[in-house]
């Protein structure tokens, strides 16, 4: 199952790339598949991974999460490689995730080297906050409010639901993809996957576009605000953290294109959050 998923997604990624590059480099693809086989075989041998009962399983989520994270980092100027900063966001973030609905998942929190004010999440536990927003969170209570909202997107599988809604998994599971070391067969399978790409819905690029360009729908964002608020409070951070950050941003005004541009209006989000202590 896992190998099949890897092959399916390999095909998706390859096809996404070939939309901008006409040249199809089979040797590189075969190498990637060999690597994928090595990884999945190891996991299988250890008996450590099981496909989800329905929808996108953990192996697919890793691939999607990694790829979307790469796109986010590429779009937002890379990561701030400051040890103190990355330790702070990871400690606060992982304190929160310990009491989330996915306490034992791998979680990584990074700061994007951009002065815009925004935060993003990608499947498989990736949370990113821009340098501009990080500067608005001088206390851990405020930082927790921001991170908890993004954590809620991941525990709620909001990005993955986009793919699932578009029938990506349904298209994928119909493929016959038992691994065979014969490269020609792999090529055949990849070509088969390639032909299924049209049915995969938005895929990686689509998820990236939703997260980074369009944003989730307002209902999803308000739900993440509420879940994040509850998580911060449960963990022991001041429950008013997110509201305070949003209020400060609203008061400072600024360029709407650069402040939470992928989220609903600040005014609407603030209105839905209760007034509570911020420290």
């Amino acid at each position: 199952m896992r190998l099949r998923s890897c092959i399916i997604l390999t095909g998706i990624l390859v096809a996404a790339a070939t939309t901008t590059r006409a040249h199809f480099d089979l040797s590189n693809l075969s190498r990637a598949l060999d690597k994928a086989k090595e990884v999945t075989d190891s996991a299988k041998d250890a008996g450590k991974v099981a496909k989800g009962v329905a929808g996108i399983g953990p192996e697919e989520e890793k691939i999607i999460g990694d790829s979307v994270a790469l796109e986010i980092i590429g779009r937002y100027g890379g990561l701030v490689r400051d040890e103190d900063v990355v330790r702070r966001v990871n400690f606060v973030g992982r304190a929160l995730t310990r009491y989330s609905e996915r306490p034992d998942s791998a979680w990584r929190f990074g700061v994007l080297n951009s002065d815009s004010v925004n935060a993003f999440s990608a499947p498989d536990g990736y949370v990113f906050i821009t340098r501009g927003l990080y500067a608005q969170a001088p206390t851990d209570d405020l930082l927790a409010g921001i991170l908890a909202h993004e954590i809620a997107h991941i525990t709620g599988r909001h990005a993955l639901k986009i793919i699932e809604r578009n029938g990506a998994v349904a298209g994928g599971v119909t493929l016959a993809t038992k691994y065979n070391s014969d490269v020609r067969q792999v090529q055949s399978q990849v070509n088969q996957v390639d032909s299924q790409l049209q049915q995969f819905g938005p895929g990686i690029k689509g998820v990236f576009k939703t997260i980074v360009v369009d944003g989730y729908d307002a209902k999803t964002e308000y739900a993440a605000d509420q879940t994040g608020h509850d998580l911060a409070k449960l963990t022991g951070f001041a429950p008013g953290g997110l509201r305070t950050v949003l209020t400060r941003l609203q008061q400072t005004g600024g360029d709407a294109q650069r402040i939470f541009s992928t989220h609903p209006p600040l005014k609407e989000r603030i209105k839905r959050l209760p007034e509570e202590p911020t420290s």
């Binding site: 890897c6 997604l9 390999t10 990624l13 390859v14 996404a16 790339a17 590059r21 590189n28 693809l29 990637a32 690597k35 994928a36 990884v39 008996g47 450590k48 991974v49 099981a50 496909k51 989800g52 009962v53 399983g57 953990p58 890793k62 691939i63 990694d66 790829s67 994270a69 790469l70 796109e71 980092i73 590429g74 890379g78 990561l79 490689r81 040890e83 990355v86 330790r87 990871n90 400690f91 992982r94 304190a95 310990r98 009491y99 609905e101 996915r102 306490p103 034992d104 998942s105 791998a106 979680w107 990584r108 929190f109 990074g110 851990d140 990686i204 449960l234 963990t235 022991g236 951070f237």
Partner: protein, 166 residues
């Protein structure tokens, strides 16, 4: 006096109150809770460093016997003890063999999942998308994140008086 029927708005309020009550009840005495960690320790007393009186696995259904602040006394068969409410869920976790559907112990999950490099497919994706620099950054982040262990996070919680250490 003519009896007044409830307007749709009041019906909605009533429904929300019932729903809120049912959620509250789940993590209150007499309610039901579910273990959301791969392994949840049940403690002899309602405090974080108390002796361990039992352990339950992922998705175990628990009966809430008593609530004391953020701590719940729960039982499942012969296992019983106190647990911080943040370690339980009021809804059944996703089906599967464990959190993230991985049949691993908590320590294995943390170690292997956090330390992993980018998937080979994502590596290829980065190569084809001219995302080499982003790939280096992401691998750096994966390493830095893996440096922070579950024990480190527990130390942070204890020092900052968060979670069960509040």
């Amino acid at each position: 006096m003519k009896p007044r029927s409830l307007t749709p708005r009041w019906w909605l309020v009533a429904l929300l109150l019932v729903a809120a009550g049912s959620v509250e009840a789940a993590l209150a005495a007499g309610g039901t809770a579910f273990a959301k960690r791969l392994e949840t320790k049940l403690l002899a007393e309602p405090r974080p460093l108390a002796a361990v009186s039992g352990k339950v696995g992922y998705a175990t259904k628990l009966t809430v016997e008593e609530a004391r602040g953020a701590w719940l006394r729960v039982s499942a068969g012969s296992a019983a003890g106190w647990v911080f409410s943040g370690n339980l869920s009021d809804t059944p976790p996703p089906e599967g063999t464990g959190a993230d559907k991985l049949g691993l112990s908590a320590s294995e999950t943390t170690a292997t999942a956090a330390a992993r490099p980018l998937t080979p497919v994502a590596d290829e994706y980065a190569r084809r998308g001219n995302l080499g620099s982003a790939s280096e950054d992401l691998n750096w982040l994966l390493r830095r994140s893996a440096d922070i262990t579950a024990a480190d996070v527990e130390g942070f919680l204890q020092e900052q008086k968060k979670g069960e250490f509040q």
